[in-house]
Symmetry: C2
Subunit: 618 residues, 2 copies
């Protein structure tokens, strides 16, 4: 299917937006009126530029407050429309989006609306143009697709059809039947389809729409279901994004355009199985490789520049990891305890950071093909003779994702290491990587969600927000259904300014244990730089939860944090920050607890600051 994007989705002046849309691979654009008005380029120049870039001008939008007016206002509105028709001819746009009126003067009269829109469509038809009428969710009288359809049906004009916008439809639809009835509309009256996702928010629908829309797959709406109904009705125009979002409005447009088209590829994939065969035979949907789901972390790589290798290596050793191998051609150490594997890579120049995740799948080559279908940038790698071909892509925050074959084998990545024969000791009861937590740059949070969802097939869960000592923090995990690969994304709700005394963009690797107290005691004895927890925290736990005094005493003694939900318990502790932003966590999940102990994060963050201050004081 053709893919288009409204210029209002992207930041910049019109040339920036067109270049970004073309570079990402879009087939067409909706030209947003305000972008054109502000542009110093004439419509003809814009038309030529679009043609050069291989972009069609799918829509000119929006035209407001047209219908159900008095005759004098109708005359003025038709005059206004003729001016816009002139412009569309110069621009090469065939379809004009007309939004349902929000004017206080508009009257509730479907026949009058149909008459006046018919008059408009007549004029459009004479020029070979057409009108797509859209119900705004906050329209004065026409605020549902059903009402807009009733008017289009009554007008019964070949140059007048509907524009369906997923936000306007889904923000107002409380019942599934509201949406499924779209499948019964005549396809030739569906002139245009605008797509936007959104989080569920309890606020004024206009503000919700203007500030919080997202690309499909980033929010809470059922876009595949909605789109499936529109396609089932027979719509064959482009899938076109119209997303008003405060963050995307000021993000780098080329990057946002890639995020945008990725959302449409993922949407097509999600829609395909929902469509009846007669429909899928008539339209061609993108079909990215259905790669196997990831089955676990093969490894987590930490980049340790120069002398920073020492504190991280020392911490891992004290945590009971053994240095079991050395890469054949690169300055990379393999550390292991049970099934938890950490690579220390001292080959780069950047500060200490989680640089790569090794994700196990049963077919790395297919996984990489899928990633490329979703525009994940491939990471070029140098490979020594006889070394494994490990395909890798870069996540939005720059973390590299390697696809590793599940289980051992000749071609497996472990073969690239010279193993020392040191056993992967289990001294401190760690069993595997539980999750990796990665701070997302402010602008990339929703992009990262979609990336992991599309590329790795992980599901977003556990959306939350908490008040950290230095500002609000947003959290979201992406996990596979069995919890074998858990990535905890977090980021500030607002971009930080000058006052930023917290750990900048913290990252951590959490290891699972089957006995958090044994692990904590062993690690303390072995000299791991563990984080001290405020006594006030345990006093509050006692007040709040009335825990078994013996458990409380052990938590306090071992400096272990505690969380519980209706499904189970979570016990965990942390190291100090090693280098500028990386630390380790040890977690024990009891029962079916599936969260990340987010309630304790402010305590951990204040403790990290205290530890840093004490280090600085020495």
């Amino acid at each position: 299917m053709r893919k288009a994007i409204a210029t209002v989705c992207l930041s910049g002046t019109l040339p920036d937006k067109l270049d970004a849309a073309a570079a990402a691979g879009f087939d067409g654009v909706e030209i947003f009126e305000n972008d054109l008005i502000a542009s110093p380029w004439s419509p003809e120049r814009l038309r030529d530029r679009c043609a050069d870039l291989g972009l069609s001008v799918e829509l000119y939008q929006p035209f407001r407050d047209f219908e159900t007016v008095d005759p004098e206002a109708l005359r003025r509105n038709l005059r206004r429309a003729e001016h816009k028709f002139d412009l569309m001819e110069r621009l090469g746009a065939e379809t004009l989006l007309v939004c349902s009126s929000v004017s206080e003067d508009a009257v509730a009269d479907a026949d009058l609306a149909a008459d006046q829109l018919r008059a408009l469509a007549d004029r459009a038809e004479r020029r070979g143009l057409r009108i797509a009428y859209e119900a705004l969710a906050w329209g004065r009288h026409v605020d549902t697709w059903q009402r807009s359809w009733e008017i289009v049906r009554r007008a019964d004009h070949p140059a007048l059809g509907l524009c369906l916008d997923s936000f306007h439809v889904l923000s107002r639809s409380r019942q599934q039947t509201d949406v499924s009835a779209i499948a019964d509309l005549p396809g030739d009256k569906l002139f245009f389809l605008q797509l936007a996702d959104a989080p569920r928010l309890r606020m004024d629908v206009l503000q919700w729409s203007r500030h919080h829309r997202l690309f499909p797959g980033q929010g809470a709406f059922d876009l595949p279901g909605f789109t499936g109904n529109v396609l089932a009705a027979g719509y064959r125009g482009p899938l076109s994004l119209e997303v008003f979002n405060d963050v995307f409005r000021q993000s780098a447009p080329r990057r946002a355009a890639v995020d945008a088209i990725r959302s449409l590829v993922a949407l097509e994939e999600a829609v395909a199985p929902r469509l009846p065969a007669p429909v899928t035979e008539r339209i061609e949907l993108a079909a990215p490789v259905a790669a196997p789901r990831p089955t676990g972390f093969a490894f987590v790589e930490v980049a340790v520049a120069g002398d920073a290798v020492t504190p991280v290596a020392r911490a891992l050793a004290a945590m009971g990891f053994a240095h079991v191998g050395q890469h054949r051609s690169k300055p990379v150490q393999l550390w292991q305890q049970a099934d938890a594997r950490v690579l220390l890579n001292s080959g780069g120049s950047a500060a200490t950071a989680v640089s790569a995740l090794g994700v196990q799948t049963s077919d790395p080559t297919e996984s990489a093909k899928r990633a490329h279908a979703f525009l994940a940038p491939a990471v070029p790698r140098e490979r020594g003779p006889n070394e494994a071909e490990l395909p890798a892509v870069a996540a939005p925050d720059g973390t590299q994702v390697f696809f590793c074959r599940s289980g051992a084998g000749e071609a497996d990545w472990l073969g690239d290491f010279i193993l020392s024969g040191t056993p992967p000791a289990v001294a401190t009861r760690l069993t595997q990587v539980d999750h990796v937590a990665l701070a997302q740059p402010f602008d990339y949070f929703d992009e990262a969600t979609l990336f992991y969802r599309a590329v790795l097939g992980l599901d977003p869960r556990h959306d939350s927000e908490f008040a950290a000592p230095f500002g609000l923090v947003r959290n979201r995990a992406v996990t596979d259904p069995r919890g074998l690969v858990r990535i905890a994304l977090h980021g500030t709700v607002l971009r930080r300014g000058d006052w930023s005394p917290g750990v900048p963009d913290p990252q951590h690797v959490a290891f699972a244990t089957d006995d958090v107290f044994a692990a904590a005691r062993a690690m303390r004895e072995r000299g791991v730089p563990l984080l001290s927890v405020s006594d006030n925290y345990y006093d509050d736990l006692d007040a709040r939860l009335d825990l078994d005094p013996a458990l409380l005493a052990r938590l306090r003694e071992c400096q272990v944090l505690y969380d519980a939900d209706e499904r189970g318990e979570f016990l965990h502790f942390h190291t100090e920050v090693l280098g500028s932003r990386v630390f380790f966590e040890v977690v024990q999940r009891v029962g079916e607890y599936a969260g990340y102990g987010v309630a304790n994060a402010p305590v951990r963050m204040a403790a990290h600051r205290q530890a840093r201050r004490q280090r600085q004081a020495h």
Copy 2:
């Protein structure tokens, strides 16, 4: 009156917050529970630190979901309370804030609530503590102050009283009588007063409260009216701020604390005249100097570092300004046309910027005293012999505000200049400074509003937001009632990131004219680098407004922008950016138009980018 602040208002760990509150001059704090829990400091250490800083611990907060529970839950809740009472004794806090329950298990039973709160108050009283009960606006059953009062009245216990929070009261009050009835409450049952302002938003009240509260005077609520009623009732506790705000949560706490206490000084000043004499005799309200209102701009100073003096001076000359004087001891040129005066100061090292505003008042000394009462930082200045003493303070964005005597005189600032005798030519029809537009750093927008409101007595008006090419922009003007001093504040809605191709923190000076077309033609002839306007803009004006064709032709020919409201018209044009961020505007107001042509700002911004690109291409 004593002034307090809840630690939740400020960013940082608890020591950061206490230091900031003390430095700003607060008398006390409310300790927010989560701040204490995360703090590695013991309650005793915190108590000592507060004592050292001269801060009393006015409140410990919040205690949640206490009342109307079953007997077993009551037992658990009383146990929890006893733990918190222990803590309060260690901390030196006498009052505990209990919020009305939000639990789904809470029942609508005022007698049961009264009974259970009485049991809690009994326990508190035994320790010399007391309970302040507060109705949350989203409480399960108790969601208005009237309902919380009914329960406190029924409980009739000396250790149980009300906490009134302006947000909870005013967000729910649609009628004035809801608030004025507070004056009839018995003063000795008003245990605590929490103050917060907020903008009027149409959203879920909990989200509104948690993210968008402001310091008094920064929002839309009638805080003076509310506070006046509370004081009239006989409340004699502290004025205490409790402001949850996403921006303040991550702002530098020392700066936010100054903003906070400034809001309370302004509030006291605003409350005083509303109170009946018997009340004001019993309490002591802050009384900053009632300085005279500003009567106009004496001058606008532009800092021009080194060689940048040339383009700005050249532009002023071409705009018809004459270089009429030179400062006696400083590298400052005076340029003038009619009553518009611009100082070019090449004494600094910073890039070209609006560095100072000269504001005329009838008594500069009194104006400066008032500014100091509002904690405006004084700007130290070197003064040559016989030069005028010009008191100056720094606005939040660093712009210096000089207080200048209205009219001429011996001590006037003009006497510091050696006048060349060149007449202040009127070649291009400029008459005076219309307004100065200053970009506010992201965190300081609301602080700036309060600063100008308190220090200069200007009123905030024309709040708006528009979609600029590179993201959303927020606007607000602060003006005196007669429009003699207009300052247009603007800033990004979100802090910008790496993609920032617009003019960084743009500033401009707008000069008034009585004939914008004559001014535009004259300036074009004289070679002023005027900004070209997109032809698309005029096509759209024509389509939208059906203007007189002759007017439209003149606008297009002279490249003048147009706006209109129900009160009048606004015609204006701009220069290119001179240096990195400063440009000039020429405006003509027709009729009573009082705005700033914000609708045209995106066109201007896109044009500035185009001009910059063309310059770079040469």
